[in-house]
Amino acid sequence: MTDRALKLLLDFDARVQREKSQPADFLHRRDRRFALSCIEHDTPADARGWLDHLNRLSGAGDEDTPAVRSIRQWRQIGIAFGIAGSVFGVVTMLGLLVYEGGQRINLSVLIAFVLLQVLLAMLTTLQAALGWQPWRVLLTRLQRQSSTQAMSAMQPLLMARAAHLGGLCFGLMSLLTLLVALVIQDLAFGWSTTLSTVPAGFTDVTAALAWPWRGLWPAAVPDLSLVEATRFYRSADGMSDVSASRWGEWWPFVLMLWSSYVVLPRAILLAGVQVNIVWRAKRALQTHAGWRALQYRMQTPTVDTGNSHNDAEDAPVDFQGRSSLPLPAAAVVIYWGGVADDSLPAAVTEHIRLACFAGGRASLASDRQTLSQIASALANGAGDAVLLVTRGWEPPTGELHDFIEEAQSLWPSPARLTLIPLAQNTAPPVPAHQLPQWLRLQERFTAGFVTVSLIESPLATAAAGEAHA
C-alpha cells in the first residue's frame, strides 16, 4: 500500500517530466480524449488510470523504471537498518545484562537507556516532520540516480521509516535476547544511586513507568518492599541478607519496560510513518503541478481553430522582370473599370484623338465594340501606341487579361498597349507595393505587346524639367 502510493507519485512525476517537451496541443487532445473515454465507460479519470492507459498504449516497457529503482533502494536501506538494528539490539542487551554473580544489573541504567531510546524515536519523528535531512550527503553518494523534486519531498519520511524499522528490530531482538537470558541465566536486578533518594521515591518512578501495564499485569509493577530489598551499594560486600530469588523478581518489570518504551513506540511510529507516507504521497500527487495541468487538460474541451493548414510558402516571390517604361505619346486611350476621363494630366491627353471606356459596368459586347473601333483607328493612322488607364489599387483580373488578349489578336501587329495604373489619391505615382501586380501582367503577353508606364508626380516632373534645362 505504502509503496503503491509512492510508486504512483514517482511514476506520475517521471511521466510528467518526460512529457515536458511534448507540444501542449498534443497533450491536451490526448488527455481530453482519455477523459471523455472515462466518462463514456464510467471509470474514474485518476492518475492511476491515466498512467495505465498510457502504458497500455505504449506496450510493455522497461520494468526497471526510476520509480522502481528508487523504491528498491529505499527497501534496501530499510533492510540494512533492520539488520543493523537487530545486531545492535542483541549486542546492546548482552552488554546491559552483563552479570557475573558478584554484582547486580543496575535498573537505573536500564531505565535511562530506555528513556534514551524513547528520545531517539521522538527525534527521528521530529526530524521527519521538519524535513531536516542531515544524512542527505551520504544518501546522495549512495544514490545511482539524481533525486527528483517529488522524491526529495518524500525522503525525510522514507528515512524516518528506515530508522523506525531499525529501532523496532533493535527493540525486538534485544527483547528476545532478554527473554533468552532470563531463561538460561539467573539475573539479579537492583537499583543504585549516589543521590539520597529514599526507596519510596524510586517506587514512585517505577510505578509511573509501569502505569501503562498496571491493570494488564500487576505482578510487573514493583512494590515498595521489592524496591527496598533490592537497593545496593557497590562498596557493600556480597549480596547482603536478601534472598537470591528476590533480585530476580524485577524481570517482569524489565520485560514490560522494554516492550512498552522501546518496542511499542517504534512499532506505533513505524505504522504512523507508513500511513504518513501514503498520505503525503497522495497529497504530493494532488498538489503536483503536473496533476493540476493534467486535470485542466482532461476537464477542458480541446478547441481546434483550424490552424493546421500551412500555405505560407505559396506567397509570390519578389518580381524580377521588366520595370516600367517612360510614357509614350499616344492618340488612343482606354479608361478601364470606371476610371474617369479626367484622371490623366493635360500633358498626356493633349495628343489624344480617341478616348474609350471599357471594363467595369460596361457590357462585354461594348468592350468588343471598343476594341474594333480602336483597331480601325490604328489602321487609319492613329499611331501604334494605345494607353490603358486603370485603378492601380484594383488588382488586374481575368477580365482585363481577356480584354488585352483580344486586343492583341484584333489590332494591327505594330500596335502596343501601355498600362497606366493610377494611384488611389490624385497624387501619383502608384505606391510601390501596387506596382508588381501590373509588371507581372505585362510579362504574360508575348512580343512586348504590353508595357507599364507611370504618371510621375507634378513635383518630380518639374524637378526633372529643371534638371534637363
Binding site: 477542458t300 490552424n307 459596368r361 484594383e394 488588382p395 477580365e399 501586380q437
Partner: protein
C-alpha cells in the same frame, strides 16, 4: 444543406479575405500577400471542439470574370425562381475548365449551402462596378454578411456601408489586422444570426473560444513562473584540477562561467517567448525570431531594461518588509506568541533594510569557490542575488505576452517590442507584492520553488497579466 454552418469568405481579389480567415482561425501560416491570386483554391478551416465541428470558414479565390459569369447566368435563367439553380449549373458546367476556375472555387461552397461572408476593402473608394459581384452572390440566395476590412489608411467605409446594405443582410466593419479579440467573438455571433439553426453552434463556439482565451492567460502565467524559477535559481558550475589552479586559471574560468551563465539566461528567455508564441498559435513568429526587431539597449541585462522593467526602491522596501515579516512570524509561532510579534517586526525590518541598501543595484551573481577536495575545486556562478533581476525578467515576459496575445494572426510584420515607460508592477496590491517578493527570494535561495508558493506566485502573475492587459488597453484607447 450541411448541418454544420459553413461560411464562404468571398470577394474581389486582394481585399483581405485570407486575412479575415487567418484572424478568425488563428492561423498565421495562411499565405497573405499584397498581390492578387495568392489564394488559388478554396480551403476549409473548421473550428472543432473535442472533435465536433461547430463551424467551418472557407477561404476562396477572388472574382476574376464577374461580368462573364453574370452574362452566362442571365442567359441561362428564365425567372427569379431558378437563379440559385442556375448558379449551381454554372459551377457544374465550368468546374473542369480553366477559364472560370476561380469563380467555380468561389461559388461551389455557396452552391453546397455555405453562408456568404463578402469582404471589401474599406480603405479604397466604393465603385458601382463591384455591384456585379454582389449581384452574382445575391443570385445564390444564400444568407449573407458583408465585412468592411480596411487594408490601407484611408476610410471610405461609410460609402461602402450604404451600398452593401442594399445587397447583404448584415454589414459589419472588421479590421482583420487590428480588431481586438472581443470583436472576433462579436463577429462570430453575427455569423450565427444569419440562419436560425446556426445560432446555437456559433454561440457554443464563442463560449469555447472565450474559455480558451482565459485558459491561455492562466497557462501563460504558469510558463512565466517556470521561467522565473529557472532563471533566478540557475547556477553554472565548473570543476578545476589542482594543475589548473596552479596555472592560475581562476580568472579564465570566471569569465567562461559568466559568459555561459548570461547566454543561458538569454536562451531561457527566448525559450519562454517561443512557448508563449506557441500557446497563442503564432508559430510563424517563431521562425522570424532571429530577425526580431530589438530596440537598441533593450537586452535582458542592459541598463535600458533595468530602467524600463526594474521597480523602485520604495517598492522593494515595502515588498521586502512584507516578505521578511512573513518569515519572522515563524519565530512568533515557535514561541507560541511569547515574542509578542517581535519576530515579524524584526523579519520585516531586516527584509526592508536589505532591500533598501542593495535593491537598486544590479550586480551579476558572484562567484563561489568550493573547498579543495581530492585535488578538485568547484566554481559556481549564480544564482543571481539581485531582487531587481526577477522584476526585469517578469516585466519583459509580461510585455511580450501582451504583444503576442493581442496580435491577430493576419499580421505578417515583425514583432516589435518597444521599451515600456511605467512601473506597472507597482500597481499590484500589497499582498500580491509580498507573495511575489517571497517567490523571487525563494527562487534565489533554493533550487526549486515549493508547490504551494509556486501556486501563489502563479496566481499573482496571472493577476499581473490581467492588470497589464487592462493598463495597455486603456493606453491604446486613450
Amino acid at each position: 444543406m450541411p448541418d454544420t454552418p459553413v461560411f464562404a469568405v468571398v470577394g474581389h481579389p486582394n481585399k483581405g479575405k485570407s486575412s479575415v480567415v487567418a484572424t478568425l482561425s488563428q492561423n498565421d501560416a495562411i499565405a497573405i500577400a499584397l498581390e492578387p491570386g495568392t489564394t488559388r483554391r478554396r480551403h476549409r478551416y473548421p473550428l472543432s471542439v473535442d472533435g465536433e465541428v461547430l463551424y467551418v470558414l472557407e477561404d476562396t479565390p477572388g472574382f476574376q470574370r464577374p461580368r462573364r459569369v453574370l452574362e452566362w447566368l442571365k442567359a441561362h435563367s428564365a425567372s427569379a425562381t431558378d437563379r440559385a439553380q442556375t448558379v449551381a449549373a454554372f459551377v457544374h458546367e465550368h468546374r473542369d475548365g480553366a477559364r472560370f476556375t476561380d469563380e467555380c472555387e468561389l461559388l461551389a461552397p455557396l452552391v453546397e449551402g455555405a453562408g456568404i461572408i463578402y469582404v471589401v476593402d474599406g480603405s479604397v473608394p466604393y465603385s458601382p462596378e463591384d455591384e456585379i459581384e454582389m449581384t452574382i452572390l445575391r443570385w445564390t440566395g444564400r444568407p449573407s454578411l458583408a465585412l468592411i476590412n480596411s487594408i490601407g489608411s484611408d476610410d471610405h467605409s461609410e460609402a461602402w456601408k450604404a451600398a452593401l446594405g442594399q445587397f447583404f443582410q448584415v454589414v459589419r466593419r472588421f479590421d482583420a489586422l487590428r480588431a481586438p479579440f472581443d470583436q472576433h467573438l462579436s463577429l462570430l455571433r453575427a455569423f450565427g444570426q444569419l440562419e436560425p439553426q446556426w445560432e446555437v453552434p456559433l454561440q457554443r463556439a464563442v463560449h469555447f473560444l472565450s474559455d480558451q482565451r482565459l485558459a491561455r492567460q492562466v497557462k501563460a502565467a504558469s510558463l512565466i513562473t517556470d521561467a522565473l524559477s529557472d532563471m533566478l535559481s540557475y547556477r553554472e558550475l565548473s570543476t578545476l584540477s589542482e594543475v589548473q589552479l596552479a596555472q592560475g586559471e581562476e580568472g579564465a574560468i570566471e569569465d567562461s562561467l559568466r559568459r555561459r551563465w548570461l547566454a543561458r539566461q538569454r536562451q531561457r528567455e527566448q525559450d519562454l517567448r517561443g512557448d508563449i508564441e506557441n500557446l497563442y498559435q503564432h508559430t510563424h513568429l517563431r521562425r522570424q525570431e532571429t530577425t526580431l526587431q530589438w530596440h537598441s539597449d533593450n537586452d535582458l541585462f542592459s541598463e535600458g531594461s533595468r530602467r524600463a522593467w526594474g521597480v523602485s526602491r520604495r517598492y522593494l522596501v515595502t515588498a521586502g518588509f512584507g516578505a521578511g515579516a512573513v518569515g519572522g512570524v515563524g519565530l512568533d509561532v515557535l514561541t507560541l506568541g511569547a515574542s509578542l510579534g517581535l519576530g515579524a517586526l524584526a523579519g520585516g525590518i531586516a527584509g526592508g533594510t536589505g532591500a533598501y541598501l542593495f535593491g537598486d543595484r544590479l550586480p551579476l551573481p558572484v562567484m563561489h569557490w568550493g573547498p579543495l577536495r581530492r585535488g578538485l575545486k568547484t566554481a559556481t556562478f549564480g544564482p543571481v542575488q539581485d531582487s531587481q533581476f526577477g522584476y526585469i525578467v517578469l516585466g519583459r515576459a509580461v510585455d511580450h505576452w501582451w504583444h503576442v496575445s493581442h496580435r491577430n494572426h493576419a499580421g505578417r510584420d515583425l514583432l516589435d517590442l518597444p521599451p515600456a515607460s511605467d512601473h506597472w508592477l507597482e500597481s499590484l496590491d500589497s499582498g500580491s507584492r509580498r507573495t511575489l517578493q517571497r517567490g523571487l527570494d525563494s527562487c534565489r535561495k533554493k533550487r526549486r520553488l515549493e508547490n504551494a508558493l509556486r501556486a501563489d506566485v502563479e496566481a499573482v502573475i496571472a493577476a499581473a497579466l490581467a492588470l497589464y492587459g487592462r493598463r495597455q488597453n486603456r493606453f491604446t484607447v486613450d
